[in-house]
């Protein structure tokens, strides 16, 4: 069934959108990522104008993250205090990110920089996570299938001032690292048009030393607010949020997220991480391929303006 999107001004198949929303929703619930890094390129691919895709995706991530976070709240796997600290950083970061984005747009190479950002960050994080989880799986196999929680190393992160107790995460660390993580994720999220979960999740695990089970819920909690903020910014300045597109994606998305959260609970943390790593690397590979191989159409059209 074809449906005409009033803001995007294109006609697309409604079932295709529902399906895309559903698949991305499952992944979102499983891994605690908003799914934007998958959905935004997919929307480009089916012919949604990039500006509309980015803005609408932000709105859709609000829905799937909210649905996911409710499930996590029930299981008490959300560190609200840590989430709030990350959120403060995130809002500052996304404000900065939008300034950077507009500056790059004025220079006329924003598309390339966004793509390079994707390739570099997805590649780095994917590789790091892949080998780390592989090591963890091997270790847990040797220990007879029981994963022993490794004692976290005492590094520079623990010597900074403004310490705060994060009970849910079982951490007593300075608020500076989470704030910096929040800002960085916010900047990248605004430039790349995503929620930023795929960067935040590894940062929380490897940099802050948070337990994996808490990471997913806390990341979703922070993403809700950052993407809500982004949605409002896009809606009021660029008028590019397409509510019909958003509804179709989120109907599939919220259902998918619920299923995903339940699958995620049944899987081992190491397994979860290795699958996320493979997915991240696959998207990275596809984008890198597009940059390296000669495109079939060398020309592209952009909205006019000098």
């Amino acid at each position: 069934m074809q449906i005409y999107l009033p803001i995007a001004e294109v006609s697309v198949n409604a079932f295709l959108l529902l399906g895309l929303g559903g698949i991305v929703g499952v992944l979102s619930g499983m891994f605690g990522v908003g799914g934007g890094f998958l959905m935004t390129p997919l929307l480009f691919f089916i012919g949604i104008p990039p500006a509309v895709a980015v803005a609408t995706e932000a709105n859709q991530i609000v829905a799937s993250s909210f649905s996911g976070v409710l499930a996590h709240l029930k299981r008490k796997t959300v560190d609200l205090r840590m989430g709030t600290v990350l959120l403060i950083g995130g809002l500052v970061g996304s404000g900065l990110g939008i300034i950077i984005f507009n500056y790059l747009k004025a220079m006329g190479q924003v598309e390339l920089l966004v793509q390079l950002c994707y390739v570099v960050f997805l590649g780095m994080i994917g590789t790091l996570m892949f080998f780390e989880s592989l090591k963890a799986i091997r270790k847990s196999k040797k220990a007879g299938g029981v994963s022993v929680p490794t004692r976290r190393k005492h590094n520079w992160v623990h010597n900074l001032p403004f310490k705060m107790k994060f009970r849910v995460s079982g951490l007593y660390i300075s608020v500076i690292p989470p704030l910096i993580v929040g800002v960085l994720v916010g900047v990248l999220a605004a430039i790349m048009g995503v929620g930023g979960g795929f960067i935040m999740v590894p940062a929380m695990i490897y940099l802050l030393g948070m337990p994996t089970k808490v990471v997913v819920g806390t990341s979703l909690f922070q993403i809700i607010f950052v993407t809500a903020f982004t949605t409002m910014l896009h809606a009021t300045t660029n008028f590019t949020v397409d509510i019909v597109l958003a509804v179709l994606l989120l109907v599939g998305g919220v259902i998918g997220a619920q299923i995903g959260t339940r699958i995620g609970v049944k899987m081992k943390a190491e397994q979860l991480r290795i699958w996320l790593a493979i997915m991240v690397l696959a998207v990275c590979g596809k984008l890198a391929f597009d940059l390296l191989v000669m495109p079939s159409e060398l020309f592209s059209l952009g909205t006019g303006g000098h």
Partner: protein, 249 residues
């Protein structure tokens, strides 16, 4: 050749007037939520006071043009191993939709000079005044090619059916990705390549119903629209969670 053409044109000078009488299958195109593209049937008759001329061939040209909008055409080139946008040309005026239907190939029924003046052919309908790149031609060609692939630019060389030298009709397909606005339909009557009559009409393409309402709200009441989008998102997220909780019990 040119001399022959001039002679031909002199002979073809309007002796008796021929006039277009037009009909449209619809006087507006409504974009609804389930809009999948459409088509317009343009038909008419040629009214004359005198018997049918036999000195020159009759040409009927129907053009339908969407609202003009500037567009930037970018070209990719290989730099440091990756494909990046290098050159770009700003096209000042490019119709968002353009269809040319004729009863015979355009060059046979329209002279070069007439085309220059009236800008009928797709190449002429696009204007890039300030192009600084040497090969600006390839950029406009690319624009036409890309839009043609999306069904937005159409050349229908035998799209107009002429019967008995006096009745004509053509069907212009409209793709689903139409831009809103007033679409200008022009019907030209030519004799020996010279235009003898022109009929112009507009076909408004408009969003209606829910599509109209949402579009207006998004532009005129953006803050409210943003809040509405967020509320729907949160309600949907909560709703799905609640339904699944019930289902699990």
């Amino acid at each position: 050749m040119i001399r022959l053409l001039v002679l031909f044109l002199l002979l073809a000078a309007p002796v008796n007037a021929e006039e277009i009488v037009l009909g449209l299958s619809r006087d507006q195109v409504s974009i609804t939520a389930t809009f999948e593209g459409s088509e317009i049937l343009i038909f008419g008759a040629i009214k004359r006071d005198a018997p049918i001329r036999t000195d020159s061939d009759l040409g009927v040209i129907v053009t339908v043009a969407g609202p003009d909008m500037p567009v930037t055409v970018r070209k990719k080139d290989r730099r440091l191993g990756i494909w990046v946008n290098t050159e770009s040309v700003d096209v000042d005026v490019a119709p968002t939709f353009y269809a040319v239907a004729t009863n015979r190939p355009l060059t046979e029924i329209l002279t070069f000079t007439e085309d220059l003046n009236t800008r009928i052919s797709t190449q002429r309908a696009i204007r890039s005044v300030g192009a600084t790149v040497d090969s600006a031609e390839t950029f406009t060609e690319a624009l036409i090619r890309i839009r043609a692939n999306h069904g937005l630019y159409q050349t229908l060389p035998t799209g107009v059916l002429v019967q008995e030298e006096s009745l004509f009709r053509t069907l212009i397909p409209l793709p689903a990705n139409l831009t809103e606005g007033d679409y200008k339909a022009e019907i030209y009557l030519t004799r020996g390549g010279e235009i003898v009559d022109l009929y112009t009409t507009t076909i408004p393409v408009k969003k209606v119903g829910l599509e109209r309402w949402l579009y207006n709200l998004a532009h005129e009441n953006a803050f409210l629209y943003g809040l509405m989008s967020l509320s729907i998102a949160i309600a949907a997220g909560w709703g799905a969670s609640a339904i699944f909780t019930v289902l699990r019990r």
